[in-house]
């Protein structure tokens, strides 16, 4: 019965979807491994839901192929769906039905379902088990939707923006549920526009923008790979002037940091003119420098301690008061903003 080949639960090859001639999913290649929690991250309108709905069999691709657990979701949906748990962004429920009744209904669709009452407790809905669906809050509906997606013990759960309408507390609880689900062996594909969610949960993250894959890797890999391409002009080795407008180029393959770049970064917030900036760029331990936004500079170094000493000395010498100096790893947010652009990926 299981026709899956290899270790991948989902395989997309050159997957394409167009609306009115515009590609919203553009030759996307992606593979989700069995047992992993995979996050599809992107700004609103990046093509996440279109991608997911082709995986679920709701939409017909205009090009490329989808295999889900070895099946074609449009032609072999009948055999695929018993293995699948779906949480749709737009999936509602009978307004007059109670959560416990909805879970009992969906439990009856699967051969070895979870206990509806226990599952309701697990997602924190025991208190409203006998309320009508129409009386639930947005967050409660979403938790019920999650419960409906996993009541059948699916091999693969596909969750579209699972925590969108939840408050912080509910979000944390949901993360716990998802981690447990993954521990139990379920493969999870989730979409999110929340960076902290992808960072906290995912084994691997794919960042998509305008229907294209722009980065793929573990959260740590993506963080290390931020800056992504090559050092800018102004490195000591080159000795040239730093271009104040020159943010770091992103031409090379994303997710692959040059070997000489280590993951320590230092953020300097200070009023610097072009000449002063060039001086910073020539400090011996600076490996790369870019202008994050006016007045905010990100330095990359192999040795943050040495750089701090050099930088402090230099600041004292030239008489500039820094507004802030921060040392640390980049967050996924930095990667994300770099790759999809600030202001929603334009």
């Amino acid at each position: 019965m299981n026709t899956t080949t290899g270790a991948d639960a989902i395989v997309l090859e050159r997957l394409t979807k167009r609306y009115d001639g515009r590609a919203v999913v553009d030759e996307l290649d992606l593979a989700v491994r069995r047992g992993e929690l995979f996050a599809l991250l992107g700004p609103n309108g990046a093509g996440k839901t279109s991608t997911v709905e082709m995986i679920e069999g709701y939409r017909r691709p205009d090009g490329g192929t989808v295999r889900v657990l070895g099946y074609d979701p449009r032609k072999e949906g009948g055999r695929l769906r018993p293995n699948l748990g779906l949480m749709l962004q737009s999936g509602g429920l009978y307004s007059q039905l109670r959560p416990i009744e909805a879970l009992e209904l969906f439990a009856a669709f699967y051969p070895e379902p979870l206990q509806p009452i226990q599952l309701l407790a697990q997602v924190g809905l025991s208190r409203v088990a006998r309320s009508r669906y129409r009386d639930l809050s947005g967050g409660e509906r979403q938790r019920l939707s999650l419960a409906l997606a996993i009541v059948g013990r699916p091999r693969l759960a596909i969750l579209d923006e699972p925590t969108g309408a939840m408050d912080a507390q509910a979000r944390r609880e949901t993360w716990g549920v998802l981690r447990e689900l993954r521990e139990g062996g379920t493969t999870i594909l989730l979409t999110t526009h929340l960076l902290d969610e992808a960072e906290a949960l995912a084994d691997r993250v794919a960042i998509i923008d305008r229907g294209r894959l722009v980065a793929l890797g573990t959260p740590a890999e993506l963080r290390r790979g931020m800056g992504v391409a090559r050092p800018v002009a102004g490195l000591p080795a080159e000795g040239g002037p730093v271009q104040a407008e020159g943010s770091m180029a992103t031409g090379a393959a994303p997710g692959v940091p040059p070997a000489e770049l280590r993951e320590v970064r230092l953020e300097l917030v200070a009023p610097l003119d072009a000449e002063r900036l060039a001086q910073v760029g020539r400090l011996p331990t600076v490996q790369a420098l870019r202008v994050d936004r006016p007045g905010v500079y990100v330095l990359r170094t192999a040795s943050a301690g040495d750089l701090l000493v050099e930088l402090s000395t230099w600041l004292l010498t030239v008489g500039i008061e820094p507004l802030a100096i921060r040392v640390g790893q980049g967050s996924l947010e930095d990667v994300f903003l770099r790759l999809v652009g600030e202001g929603g990926g334009s």
């Binding site: 679920e56 069999g57 709701y58 009948g78 769906r81 018993p82 699948l84 779906l86 749709l88 737009s90 999936g91 509602g92 429920l93 009978y94 307004s95 007059q96 039905l97 009744e101 009992e104 209904l105 969906f106 009856a108 669709f109 699967y110 051969p111 409906l148 059948g152």
Partner: protein
């Protein structure tokens, strides 16, 4: 999905469909309260011309009310409920579950049949209290009328689903209720078509409610005759509406 699993899924879905039928108050109003109210009102208040065969008023009211019951269940109740299930994404969610589509259709069909059985029993019972006495008796009369009730159910359920599958839910709400009123007044349901002016009666006779009401009158009124042309016309409507629904229905 195994046959046993598909049966379990069907039973669970049918249970929910029936449960929801009882929970929708507006549903019970249109399927039960209004037909029974009209039955009692027009059987007891002498507004209609007396039956041509000189019997009781109730004898010419019950066949039309049975037609109205079928219209209310198929067009109004099923149509509006399905339209909102589509609008709220219930159909989409079910479509992504292992529930086989035939099991969903069977569950909805069962809910319609159960509703109609309750309607027919209540209408016959209230009719009997008011003195309804079809030729050959009530039970044989109902049995003789079953083919027309079934054919009418297919036509009006298809009409309800046709609207639900293409229009916005709010539009279905308006159109279904509007048609219900038009059919009630001009479909030969309360006022037999031959009491209406020719200019209305002739076009109205081409529509399925007049055909259903005509067939039920032909079966249940003293001296009534079933018109085979009406039966053929209603069957043609049923086929056309089912085909149109199958071609156009969208779950999203």
């Amino acid at each position: 999905m195994s046959a046993v699993q598909a049966w379990r899924a069907f039973v669970a879905q049918a249970r929910v469909e029936l449960l929801l039928t009882t929970r929708r108050g507006e549903n019970l109003l249109v399927t039960l309260a209004i037909p029974l109210l009209l039955l009692v009102f027009f059987s007891t208040v002498p507004l209609l011309p007396p039956p041509s065969w000189g019997g009781r008023q109730v004898d010419q009211v019950v066949p039309g009310i049975l037609a109205l019951a079928v219209v209310s269940t198929g067009l109004v109740s099923l149509g509006i409920a399905t339209a909102f299930e589509r609008a709220y994404g219930v159909l989409k969610r079910l479509g992504g579950s292992p529930l086989p589509r035939p099991a969903l259709l069977a569950a909805k069909t069962l809910a319609v049949i159960v509703t109609e059985i309750v309607q027919v029993v209540l209408i016959a019972a209230v009719g009997a209290i008011l003195g309804w006495a079809p030729p050959g008796g009530i039970v044989p009369g109902i049995i003789a009328a079953l083919p027309w009730l079934l054919l009418g159910s297919i036509a009006f359920c298809a009409l309800g689903l046709l609207l639900a599958g293409v229009l916005r839910a709010e539009a279905v709400l308006a159109v279904a209720n509007g048609l219900y009123l038009v059919f009630l007044l001009l479909g030969g349901i309360i006022i037999p078509l031959d009491h209406l002016p020719q200019a209305i009666a002739v076009p109205a006779s081409l529509l399925p409610p007049a055909q259903l009401a005509g067939l039920l009158r032909g079966t249940l009124e003293p001296g009534g005759v079933v018109d085979p042309i009406q039966a053929a016309a209603l069957a043609a409507w049923a086929v056309a509406l089912v085909a149109a629904t199958l071609l156009t229905f969208r779950t999203e």
